[in-house]
Symmetry: C2
Subunit: 460 residues, 2 copies
């Protein structure tokens, strides 16, 4: 209720209604065989009701909130058991009124409708029909919000959701503790010959036992250099690096998101250690630099510099690290951003426009590989929850592309890089809360992170 | 290739193209955070290519098949790794041609388009745009196929998919063996105080380790009388019956589907045993009656009669069992059908129209509760794969409804039924192949089914 009040307060002076469409069931194999229900995150934030097929309005002029949904009939009660009525749901969410779904059309008629970018086609179709627009205009376009989405409503929601409340931080801590346990199960399952899918199943099974499930499709790969590798058919082979980037979503729908990179045989090779230690150092550096008033963009840049400095010591690049970083050469090794906002979504509010969520009005997004992929650049504020996830990858196709284009031909030691073409990649990730004075790692005891900690944990 | 040829053969004389739209990714939390990809079942049957974003045509006049899709660009290779080209995919599926997706519009232009009922909004929208119709006409309407779906194509696909090939039976056997193992994990996890969700997670984790996942949302409930109970928040309590109805879908996307009902404490009470033994007897009876030439409708009716006969011996109904069954009174205790077709979908081809899939042209669907819910009534043919799943439930809301309406007031012992209002429900289910001479239970060793077998397995 406080959140809805805060929203109305932020939108003072706006006319009309904020319209929210809750998610429905989403077909998997056929229409009535659906994926596990996942409610819309903004819906959960403002109304909390974790049931499909609902809608709601908040009147921005009067502040009145109304829940729209259909009550069960006797057949529903026979097949689904007794469930709360729509009026009961509205009351427990502290809403002012409730009405059947069919009343929604007349409730919005003649009023200005504010809505945010939609994630699902079914919801976009409903809003489009009510607002008299085409569904396509209700979707985010690339990194930008939906053309027809309300800028004022989107901005207000982003402002609210970016600063986590005490209760939200508790829930994220809990999700992180469970996510860490899921990673521990994974680490303890690593053995040569095990099929990757076996470990993924154990992890996701734990996520389903203790939470809603995984907060995103588990990345578990001996080819860390391939970012979106979702095949898990390989057996664990001697001498590889196994990247596990996975998170658990709690029953309350808060995300966690951790990454660790393990040696498949339990011990890193010397060559692996050299790169691993750089990532580990960058990971710790980023955490130390994370504090209110600092922009996360500047933390990303500091990490890029340190990474290039250390890669220089290994003879993979040459020149002044700060200058190399300014030219964007860290992007060859870390083509992604340092981190992102996290909350009810693992990339929090991504559909509302990456720039609107992750960039202050006075920041513009870089076009450099790496820094340009940074989803969170903002000046940090207490209550922000972000990920810290530096990585180093050797991506043969990317290296060859840069080499062919002559990029950094005097600074990047392409010949030496060839001996890393079968290296894979390394990434480390923790979830971080920005506090009043600095930062705190979320969850329980930190997962083993250094070479020594990981080898110790794997060889007990 | 043989399947596509058989389809063209069945559709000889038809003009135009059969159009197939493969599934895309389906958003969960936000647009780029998707559920695990599940290809369309008919697509898998004819093309096998387990990748999102494809389309295909089969020219019914020339027999020529074309795969439509977009090749990766360099960015895709960097992020997703090297993947086969569309031409490679077409070649490995034995298709005649391939083309980029944008060529689909001109390929179908001016041709008659045949398509089947769609399961997903995104696919319906694509077909509707190509065929110049509204998406709504591409969806099944209740138990009937989509108004704009091709009757001839639908019929031909149903005829093909209802008779499983030898290779399909192998794959279903494998899915069933894994599904049985998943049930064994469940049974071994049962202990008073355990939260239901814990067991569900262990089961679904195994399904993800060894297969695609579950073939439908796991039903695991101490309220078996509530059919669509998907909440798993309860702890296992002494003296309850735990219904577990769950299946595993293999990596090749064939389903399994088993049900067992366990005593939460490891031993059935006398009252539970009396009802359990009736369900067990009905389960075995149905299996014995399953053979080519017999209609599954008649097996359902034989089960209904036996059930009423035994319920009569317990004093819950009175009168001649066959007459009681003819009046549909078994529907009070078993308001669902005896079983359904199973294959690439757990309710095979349900979107193509339940009557078209499960009823012969000379059969009409009953309106009785129970028999009317029978999804498979056809005369059995070797190669049919069906489930056999009788159950007895005591659903207070349904009993009260019948009582209030005066249904069977001389035959149904409503007073006695009141003592069963907290009983719950019992269901048993195996997956069955119709053979040349009779029937075979699919999978490995049968899961413990009788009171003795289950109590022995739970008290080792």
């Amino acid at each position: 209720m406080a959140r809805r009040r805060a929203l109305v307060e932020k939108l003072k002076g706006q006319e009309g209604l904020a319209l929210f469409i809750g998610n429905g069931d989403s077909p998997a194999q056929y229409r009535d065989n659906c994926y596990k229900f996942r409610q819309d995150s903004t819906w959960l934030y403002f109304f909390g009701i974790d049931e499909p097929g609902l809608a709601a309005t908040i009147d921005l002029e009067s502040g009145e909130s109304t829940l729209f949904g259909n009550d069960c009939d006797i057949d529903d009660i026979i097949w689904n058991g007794p469930t709360p009525s729509i009026a009961d749901h509205a009351a427990s969410a502290g809403m002012d009124k409730s009405a059947p779904l069919k009343a929604l059309e007349s409730a919005v008629k003649g009023r200005k409708i504010h809505f945010v970018s939609q994630s699902r086609q079914a919801n976009a179709a409903k809003i489009a029909a009510l607002a008299g627009i085409v569904p396509q205009d209700c979707f985010a376009q690339g990194k930008n919000p939906a053309p027809a989405a309300s800028k004022a409503l989107t901005r207000a929601i982003i402002e609210l959701r970016l600063i986590k409340e005490a209760r939200e931080i508790e829930l994220i801590d809990q999700a992180c503790i469970l996510g860490q346990q899921m990673h521990t199960i994974a680490r303890e399952s690593i053995a040569l010959g095990v099929v990757e899918q076996d470990i993924v199943g154990r992890m996701e099974g734990y996520a389903l036992s203790k939470g809603w499930g995984v907060s995103f499709s588990t990345i578990l790969t001996q080819h860390g250099e391939i970012f979106h590798c979702h095949s898990h058919a390989q057996k664990l082979q001697e001498g590889r690096l196994l990247v596990i980037d996975a998170g658990l979503e709690s029953n309350e729908h808060y995300a966690s998101d951790f990454t660790r990179t393990y040696p498949t045989g339990g011990r890193y090779t010397q060559k692996q250690k050299e790169i691993y230690n750089i990532v580990d150092e960058c990971h710790n550096l980023a955490f130390e630099l994370t504090k209110p008033g600092t922009s996360y963009r500047s933390v990303h840049i500091a990490v890029a510099e340190r990474m290039l400095e250390r890669l220089g010591e290994l003879g993979l690049v040459k020149g002044n690290a700060a200058e190399l970083a300014a030219q964007g050469f860290a992007g060859l090794f870390m083509p992604h951003g340092l981190g992102h906002n996290m909350g009810l979504d693992v990339h929090d509010m991504e559909d509302y426009g990456e720039n609107a969520v992750g960039y202050d009005p006075d920041q513009s997004r870089s076009s450099q590989l790496g820094l340009g992929s940074l989803r969170m650049a903002r000046k940090l504020v207490p209550g922000n929850v972000i990920t810290n996830e530096p990585g180093i990858y050797f991506i043969p196709a990317l290296i060859e592309q840069w080499k062919a284009q002559g990029i950094g031909k005097d600074c990047i030691c392409y010949d030496k890089l060839e001996s890393y073409y079968d290296f894979g990649g390394i990434r480390l990730e923790d979830d971080i809360l920005v506090t009043e004075t600095g930062a705190r790692r979320l969850g329980g005891d930190r997962l083993p992170a250094s070479v020594e900690e990981i080898e110790k944990a794997m060889n007990r």
